[in-house]
């Protein structure tokens, strides 16, 4: 067994963990991030991808609202290649109380959110997808954010600052001396290899799984797993985020993200045992379609691509069974102060929007413990890829007349696209035709971004996220991965796993064109290709 020393070990490869590693690394610490699965596999990758303006929280939770709008403005600057500045609408429907609009707008203004009441007719002109029956509309600075890209960019930057990463590695226990955590014992879930890592501070950033990690360390955090289900529609129906202007409820946000749009969400309390395998029920699907069609009527006749669910890492505050009245506030626990356990802190609660702030708070605690006196720079240093704000300019600088695939690459990679800018013609061949992902982009991800499976590759490049759900690209990408990793046998089972993972999200909404596609995929892989 090997042992390695670091200044800080971060547990959890979601956005909070990745952000914390980046912050720590930028402050000069020797960092290690450990993730049981892949990046962004928990709540990070299983939400709307909404760049909240904070408006949704303004009435009930002013603190969260203020955090959101501050971080919203920061992310636009530091993570521009992950963000689409679409703006958002809060619409009032005939069955909603229009009086709420006033309360809402006032609360927004108090929180520093630029909320502007507009003519409902203007709202329909701005986004023709909006339910034309609306009686009121407020425009807010919402947007969409690609959580996979954001997470990957944070991790990449940490690596550029000498951070180390262990993916697919499980924490089996803590190295503990008396009341001090000295490090962790791990097992690689792919190779079975066990290792020990030591650091004076360990940060628990495991989202809902932080509950389990804390109990391994011998402390208890009262977490409250709340499942939220969402549906992905197969193209962008709306151009702006559409919210309901009422007290937050089920399925009242429709977010246009990349080439799709996403309706969500629900909220159901689930036991911890189910967190690893959440399924979307037919009732949830019905509810999402019904409520979603009120925001944008065309959803009732738009092809659905998949259904998925995530688990919010809420920290219980009261006994509300819906989980909605718990503050989305950030919880940063120094277990030395709270439980007398030294060298261990937990950062949880919060949300995708406030990950950077959470990371800053956690890193501040880490630095205090290590007596490091460095200020946080993450609020103004752009992430790799976001050094320039306009991907259009980036693309034009590299290619005189960029092809659609080159444009798509620029929109995903931002300035990092220059890495694949001068590749040869073979690298320009498309792997994924739905999302226009080229060989060059796939190979770049394989080389630089800790890819060990097709599913990992999907999170980093969007292969298989389009309409065909990996029908054609999975096999091509498997070929590339097999070549790069020299592991054909593993790729064979990887391919089967990938198709299984895609099917998991398809069958809950398996009708119409989605079922046609599924049948076709079955036919190709079973009968033609002989998988």
């Amino acid at each position: 067994m090997t042992t390695k020393d670091f200044d800080v070990i971060i547990l959890g490869g979601g956005i909070t963990g990745a952000g914390t590693q980046r912050d720590c690394a930028m402050r000069g610490l020797r960092t290690l991030l450990i993730e049981r699965s892949d990046i962004a596999t928990g709540a990070t990758g299983r939400n709307h991808g909404l760049l909240h303006s904070g408006a949704r929280y303004a009435v009930n939770d002013a603190e969260s609202a203020e955090e959101c709008i501050r971080e919203n403005m920061i992310l636009r600057k530091i993570a521009s290649h992950c963000i689409d500045e679409t703006d958002g609408l809060f619409i009032t429907l005939p069955e909603d109380d229009l009086a709420y609009q006033q309360t809402f707008v006032e609360a927004c203004r108090k929180a520093g959110i630029n909320a502007e009441i507009i003519d409902p007719k203007l709202a329909v002109r701005l986004d023709p997808a909006v339910n034309p029956a609306l009686t009121g509309a407020v425009r807010v600075p919402d947007g969409s954010v690609d959580p996979f890209r954001l997470c990957a960019a944070n991790m990449l930057d940490a690596k550029l600052h000498d951070g180390q990463v262990r993916l697919h590695t499980e924490v089996t226990g803590f190295i503990r001396e008396g009341d001090t955590i000295l490090g962790v014992r791990t097992r690689n879930l792919q190779t079975g290899e066990t290792e020990e890592f030591r650091a004076p501070v360990t940060v628990n950033a495991c989202g809902i799984w932080g509950h389990h990690i804390a109990s391994l360390a011998g402390v208890n955090i009262g977490m409250y797993p709340a499942k939220g289900a969402l549906l992905v529609f197969s193209h962008r129906v709306n151009q702006m985020v559409i919210n309901r202007c009422r007290k937050p409820s089920n399925a009242d946000i429709l977010v246009p993200g990349d080439t799709v749009c996403i309706i969500g969400t629900t909220s159901t309390h689930i036991p911890f045992e189910e967190c690893d395998n959440v399924a979307v029920t037919p009732d949830e699907v019905n509810l999402l379609i019904t409520e979603g069609s009120k925001l944008a009527p065309s959803l009732s006749s738009t092809r659905i691509l998949r259904a998925y669910a995530g688990v919010r890492p809420l920290v219980s505050a009261d006994d509300d069974p819906t989980g909605r009245n718990i503050s989305r506030g950030i919880v940063c626990l120094d277990h030395e102060k709270r439980d007398g356990l030294k060298g261990f802190i937990t950062i949880t609660g919060g949300k995708l929007m406030t990950y950077r702030l959470m990371a800053e708070m956690a890193t501040d605690v880490v630095c205090r413990k290590l007596n490091v006196n460095k200020t946080c720079e993450t609020a103004h240093k752009p992430l790799p890829g976001s050094e320039e704000r306009s991907y259009e300019q980036v693309a034009r600088r590299i290619w005189e007349t960029p092809s659609m695939a080159q444009k798509a690459a620029a929109s995903r990679m931002g300035t990092s696209v220059s890495r694949i800018g001068k590749l040869d013609r073979y690298d320009n061949a498309l792997v994924c035709e739905c999302e226009e992902v080229s060989v060059g982009e796939v190979n770049d991800a394989i080389e630089r971004m800790e890819v060990s499976s097709l599913t990992d590759l999907r999170r980093r490049t969007r292969i298989g996220m389009g309409t065909c759900q990996g029908e054609f690209c999975a096999c091509r990408a498997a070929g590339l991965l097999a070549k790069a990793r020299n592991c054909v046998e593993k790729e064979r089972s990887d391919l089967a796993d990938f198709l299984q993972e895609r099917w998991k999200g398809n069958f809950p909404i398996g009708w119409g064109d989605t079922l046609r596609e599924a049948e076709y995929t079955q036919w190709i892989y079973k009968h033609v290709l002989g998988l």
């Binding site: 092809r303 226009e436 309409t467």
Partner: protein
């Protein structure tokens, strides 16, 4: 409707199963590597364009709008409509002078008619061809359609009274080609219909259907023409209860399909009453009308299905009529694009591609070695005649030749 009872999307792009069958049948893709192909340009590109119009790719201009992708698609995706409507929505570059000239088929006809012999002489001259090639990028190797001295409209107007005497009446959307270049086809139609006891009327001033404007980035002009033509057609169909017949498959497709699908001009009031003349004639014969054919008409005829005829799905009517003529040895050519695609092949930058697309068809014609190539499209006619030397005749004119006097 119940939620999700059915799903729909613009030109059915969400029905695309990504099977890539369309790319296997795209004639342009086979010869022009700059064209991204129907799948990428159509349903794949549509999702990206909905994300950001910046994803619009100017290489979509290489699409000939032959619609073979739509005919091949197992899922009913209107691939070519997706491509053309993307061009209409996102390509705001001003059409070049050359493209405007090529697209303005009726204006050109009007301007040249009084001086037709001169124009025909000039466009046939080597020096004029070189000049057009250099200045306008109209390929010098092209043969130009000849202009006629007297328009078809003028001719038919002079026969108005005798046509009105027939017990049954149809209106005829003759199109620019019959009016300005080849009035004989119109006269042949009148002869054939008269033989069935049907008189032919003009519409109350039709305009060019606008097909060339659509493909040349002049959709606003095309829409104006569409609105005008639909109004004119309504007068014939709704007010007078007439069927409107046509002799050009491309005009027909434009009036019936492109108006609503690409230009958003509602044609539902006239759609079902707009028929290719071959279909109208076939239906008259089915209803009991009879032709008297010559007994000395012996021809080997190879029938080429124009792309737009294939898309209309009406080639069976032309085919059946030709097979009906005694003494005809009939061959149905494999359905393949001739490469001209309206004004596409006239452009210097497309000449090579255009000829390469058509080569398999030309080869087939040469091997059949017919007396006549039959075809319902005027631009296919120019292309095939120029490229093979075989004479290409509209089925209506063949019928007219085969009728007993």
């Amino acid at each position: 409707m119940k939620l999700q009872e059915y799903t729909e999307s613009r030109h059915n792009f969400e029905e695309c199963m990504k099977c890539t069958v369309c790319t296997a049948y795209c004639p342009v893709l086979q010869v022009n590597p700059l064209y991204p192909g129907p799948k990428q340009a159509g349903p794949d590109g549509e999702r990206l364009r909905l994300k950001d119009p910046w994803f619009f790719n100017y290489a979509l201009k290489y699409c000939m709008n032959c619609k073979r992708c739509e005919v091949a698609c197992p899922s009913g995706v209107r691939v070519a409509d997706l491509i053309q409507s993307a061009r209409i929505r996102y390509d705001h570059t001003k059409p070049k002078l050359r493209d405007r000239i090529l697209a303005s088929t009726d204006l050109m006809g009007k301007l040249t008619r009084p001086v037709a012999p001169v124009v025909n002489g000039v466009t046939g001259l080597k020096i004029a061809k070189s000049a057009m090639d250099a200045m306008l990028k109209i390929d010098h190797r092209r043969t130009f359609p000849k202009y006629s001295g007297r328009s078809f409209e003028a001719w038919l107007r002079s026969h108005e009274k005798e046509q009105a005497a027939f017990p049954k009446q149809v209106a005829y959307f003759h199109g620019c080609y019959v009016n300005y270049n080849h009035p004989d086809l119109g006269k042949d139609l009148v002869k054939v219909l008269n033989a069935l006891g049907v008189g032919v009327q003009l519409l109350d001033h039709e305009k060019c259907c606008g097909i060339a404007m659509i493909t040349n980035g002049m959709s606003e002009q095309a829409t104006r023409h569409a609105v005008h033509n639909i109004a004119v057609l309504k007068k014939a169909v709704v007010d007078k209860g007439l069927t409107v017949v046509t002799t050009s498959s491309s005009c027909t497709l434009t009036l019936r399909e492109e108006y609503p699908n690409l230009l958003g001009v509602d044609n539902s009031a006239v759609h079902d009453s707009l028929l290719m003349a071959t279909r109208y004639i076939y239906e008259r014969l089915e209803a009991g009308a009879k032709f008297r054919f010559r007994t000395d008409f012996h021809k080997k005829i190879a029938y080429h299905v124009p792309c737009h005829m294939e898309r209309l799905g009406w080639s069976i009517f032309s085919e059946r009529l030709l097979r009906m003529i005694p003494g005809v040895e009939f061959t149905l050519l494999d359905s393949a694009c001739c490469g001209i695609a309206g004004t596409y092949g006239f452009k210097k930058e497309n000449y090579e591609a255009s000829q390469a697309v058509g080569e398999p068809l030309f080869e087939q014609i040469r091997s059949v070695n017919p007396d006549i190539v039959a075809c319902d499209c005027e631009t296919c006619k120019w292309q095939i005649e120029m490229s093979t030397g075989y004479s290409v005749i509209n089925p209506i004119s063949i019928l007219a030749q085969a009728l007993a006097e």
